[in-house]
Symmetry: C2
Subunit: 482 residues, 2 copies
């Protein structure tokens, strides 16, 4: 067995072989930070989080680069998304960037998405982008008009190889800026001239301006990963024009391949309808987390394959919540029994089941990260574990620990859906009412003159660091230390 990845470029699953044995470089298109993240972001970054986790599980040293787009991502109207939001919120554009970058990582942390190793920003790589544009001009792949520079698609015959589109068939209007300066409507901006009132602009050999959206990913990926590098990921909606343009720029400039494996996650639909901010049906994570725990959302995303669309509905989320609870209940029971179990060997049938479920789980993951199949294996495992737990045969401490270890290895390390500590072990909002309930019970014992029980509650609370003080106004409590 070996890892196979579906490569958008070749349109088939390929055995994964990194450029440098033992090392993997992966770049995933990050968010444009002008709004709070929605479920579409969750689908993409949870999917690639599992990709990175699994590569690390397989023993690769992974460098994961995911950019922050803070300049140059234009709306169809030609407005910069960040600048537009800055006007609405009456903030300096960089304040908008700070606010939504923080919001993005907050939500990703909640979803148990591990941080990228490097989070480069487009505005932090202007000189590198200018260098790329200069190289493309020198090599004749680009032309300058009125302080803007365009890539001439006709000069790069392979344009379209990722998306399967043909330049001749590209018509104006399909996410293509129909600027009159361009020789051909499919040509795309590498650098745009900016008037003095445009706040985010930089000096360049072509005057003041700002980079086109595609250049940032070409330069930030190769700056930190080299060219070519192993894996470039992103949402399917980025295949064209974004990734097609990245390939054209980087391969034209340096005459060598850009990326070896292109991976694209499918999109989110809401009750069957495409989710998009312009349709007004975008589901923001901060809102969603009020109704479903982030772990439920993560689990829900992984129950469909990253290359399948994810259809959002309350029924589906509720079903995922129940499924995750079932899975967790088995793990909890296993963990709860460990301290009360006797030592002893692991029965052969238990060892066999664990080994075969693990093998099937890993086979599913090696088949282009088939998380729904892998999760199915976890449920099959739970079915067997539940049978053992309900049977008369007591499981040894070693057997329970082996079961727990497998859940942790597959469900935590790889999928990130079975935490080492469950929420009820770390939540704290019940502490005060629980203490108050105990004080109330103690009060009743004192009234009933059952001093032994009353004192025992006081002593047990003291052991936990809670000090009771009886005053004329009633019993108060405090912690032993600040």
């Amino acid at each position: 067995m070996a890892l196979e990845i579906y490569n958008t470029l070749t349109r088939r699953k390929e055995k994964f072989e990194p450029l440098h044995p033992g090392f993997v470089g992966i770049y995933v298109c990050g968010p444009t930070v002008y709004d709070h993240p929605h479920i579409g972001h969750a689908k993409s970054y949870v999917s690639f989080d599992v990709v990175v986790r699994f590569l690390r599980y397989l023993g690769y040293k992974v460098r994961y680069v995911q950019n922050i787009t803070d300049v140059g991502h234009l709306l169809e109207t030609g407005e910069d998304r960040v600048l537009k939001k800055a006007k609405i919120e009456r903030l300096e554009p960089m304040e908008v960037v700070e606010k939504y970058t923080r919001s993005y990582f907050e939500d990703m942390d909640a979803l148990n998405v591990q941080r990228p190793d490097i989070s480069p920003r487009a505005s932090g790589h202007i000189p590198e982008q200018i260098e790329l544009v200069k190289t493309l001009l020198e090599k004749g792949f680009a032309y300058e008009v009125n302080g803007s520079v365009y890539f001439e698609v006709a000069k790069f015959p392979e344009y379209g190889k990722l998306s399967g589109r043909k330049v001749e068939e590209l018509i104006e209007g399909y996410r293509i800026d129909p600027s009159p300066d361009k020789k051909h409507p499919a040509d795309f901006a590498l650098w745009k001239r900016a008037e003095p009132e445009h706040i985010m602009r930089w000096p360049s050999p072509w005057g003041w301006g700002y980079p086109g959206w595609h250049t940032e990913c070409s330069v930030m990926s190769t700056k930190y990963l080299g060219q070519p590098f192993d894996i470039h990921g992103g949402g399917m909606d980025n295949i064209f024009p974004h990734h097609e343009c990245e390939i054209a720029q980087s391969e034209a400039a340096y005459g060598i391949p850009f990326v070896r494996y292109w991976m694209h996650n499918n999109m989110v639909t809401v009750e069957g309808v495409k989710m998009s901010k312009s349709l007004g049906n975008a589901i923001y994570l901060k809102e969603l987390f009020k109704r479903y725990s982030p772990m439920t959302v993560r689990f829900f995303i992984l129950t469909s394959h990253y290359r399948s669309p994810l259809d959002f509905s309350d029924e589906a989320l509720s079903a995922a919540e129940r499924g995750l609870e079932r899975l967790w209940n088995t793990v909890k029971e296993v963990r709860e029994r460990i301290p009360f179990s006797d030592t002893g060997p692991i029965p052969q049938d238990v060892a066999d089941v664990l080994a075969s479920r693990k093998a099937r789980f890993l086979a599913a993951m090696e088949d282009d990260f088939n998380t729904p199949l892998a999760i199915g294996e976890l449920f099959e495992l739970s079915r067997e574990v539940n049978t053992w737990l309900a049977s008369d045969r007591p499981l040894s401490k070693e057997a329970l620990m082996a079961i727990d270890g497998l859940y942790t290895e597959l469900g935590d390390t790889i999928l990130g859906i079975i935490p080492k500590k469950f929420p009820e072990e770390v939540r704290g909002e019940l502490e005060v009412p629980l203490i108050q309930l105990l004080i109330e019970l103690r009060q009743e014992f004192r009234k009933a003159q059952d001093w032994e029980k009353a004192d025992r509650i006081r002593a047990r609370l003291r052991e936990l660091g809670i000090i009771l003080e009886d005053t004329p106004q009633g019993t108060r409590w405090r912690r032993a230390r600040v």
Copy 2:
């Protein structure tokens, strides 16, 4: 009364008048992200956090910019700090930057330091720095030698006005790079040539290189705050050469003042000895937080004035811990009594004390942010509140709420040391043992056939979302929902 700030530039306290009424722009030199933060960082950023909080309390709209130095901060040996750490940790320099930037904000969040509005990075402002160097060359304040550019201190007669140093007295070796390329040892680098093996380098009109340390603060402050701007802060150790050089660069380049108020916090000593990483007595916050809560550390810092040295010792920290506990205990008692108190007027003597303590607190803060004096007023307030609480006269709900409101206004909004929720209200580690204790008590009631009490415990836990299930193996509990 009006806010007065000690201005390092004029060496006296001055009435604070912002450039644009109602708005304040403040820039504070941020960390060089090549290691975890230590108590010296805490002293500086807690101090300026209170400055910003108080300005906002006074009604100013504040834009707080604090940079991240990720390139160009050289050691005395001429090595870049980030690059050196990258070699040691075998990481890409930007991985080092990500790791320690995250660590920095983690510790600052723990210290209840509010995030800056903009956290610009040196590496993200290379074009702006190149523009500054070009301007200085054009105006004759700088010269180029072998691909490096130096500021010629002799051309700027005001050099030394912040630190009080005279160029003639500056000798080689005092944090001055004695490069043979320089015309005068006091001249400082604006741009340094970098050899190809130097990883962090950018193209410039003078070849590949990287910016000098001082240029980033000149360009990032004025890019986001304009020139001149209101307040520039930093540690005293930055007065010379860092801030002196910033002034020279920015005022020479644009012929107008750079900054109106310079504020500098004093340094940390450890049992009387200067704390420094080279002396090996640096106290890292992550280590310190294992022994003292971040709130204790914050409180300890604010018990000395920002312009006074902070002497660290275990005795001093322990005393601060006890002091904060005393302060909190009074606030807790006030808050606990509110739901059990009757409504009624606020007695005149109570209102008078609150008004006069508030006035004295604000007067202390307006006197160059005298936090030790302001904290003293909180203790005086507590002394009076404790007298009221111990007296026979019951305080009305309104009076208790007015007291709590004042603690929150002064102690939370301004100083950030009295949280809205105390740690015991949000900590959670006791929840599970408390539930287990209740299950144990219920078990005893059941044994004693006291069904009413046993059922009551089950019902009360159910109300809190804890479901008990009696099984042949004993009583188990679970949450009502994932």
